[in-house]
């Protein structure tokens, strides 16, 4: 019984990822695409946590932590680039 529920969770998260990728490809301006990449990073953190619990492999949680921080750094860099500034201003 829990296997079916986990499959439903996976399908929901995959639909989220597909919607984010649609916005990355379609978005009219550059900030749209950056927002979608940020959201995709957060969704993938949840995905890694669910995968870690279902398969019992704990190292996937380390992947989730690293992914959260790297996604944050990438978004900040892109936002600074959009603003037209360097990193130390």
């Amino acid at each position: 019984m829990p296997e079916i529920l986990f499959n439903l969770v996976y399908i929901g998260l995959l639909i989220c990822c597909a919607m984010c990728l649609y916005r990355v490809g379609r978005g009219p301006t550059a900030p749209d695409r950056t927002v979608a990449i940020d959201i995709l990073g957060i969704v993938v953190v949840g995905f890694a946590a669910v995968l870690a619990v279902q398969t019992g492999k704990e190292y996937l949680l380390n992947v989730a932590i690293a992914w959260a921080l790297l996604s944050f750094i990438g978004t900040i860099a892109l936002a600074k680039h959009l603003e037209g500034k360097g990193f130390d201003e």
């Binding site: 919607m19 969704v43 949840g46 946590a49 932590i65 900040i76 600074k80 603003e83």
Partner: protein
């Protein structure tokens, strides 16, 4: 029993994530999309991580999940704020039915 509670919290988190991503698709404007998607997806991912805590129950997993929740809660609003500021400075227009733009007024009064 704790399995049922964990899976219920996991399902609620996935529903929040879906709502946020529907907002990302449907709303008309960068700022609207940012607002809807960031808030819903942050809450949904935190609920998913809490559900993972309850489902696993071992101490290292719970610690890692709590660290991950703290990181997501700190970094997501910061990134959203920087993105909104960057988009406004870049000159992305608001939706034509928006009623107020206080950041623009503040910039105009300063210069």
């Amino acid at each position: 029993m704790s399995n049922a509670i964990g899976i219920a919290i996991l399902g609620i988190g996935v529903l929040f994530n879906l709502m946020g991503c529907i907002g990302l698709i449907r709303l008309p404007d960068v700022y609207n999309r940012l607002q809807a998607a960031t808030k819903c997806v942050t809450l949904g991912t935190c609920l998913i991580l809490i559900g993972a805590c309850i489902l696993s129950g071992s101490v290292p997993t719970v610690l890692k999940c709590v660290i991950c929740i703290i990181f997501v809660l700190i970094t997501s609003p910061t990134a959203a704020h920087a993105l909104a500021r960057g988009a406004h400075t870049m000159g992305v227009k608001l939706w034509e039915k928006s009623v107020i733009d206080q950041y623009e007024e503040e910039k105009g009064s300063q210069s």
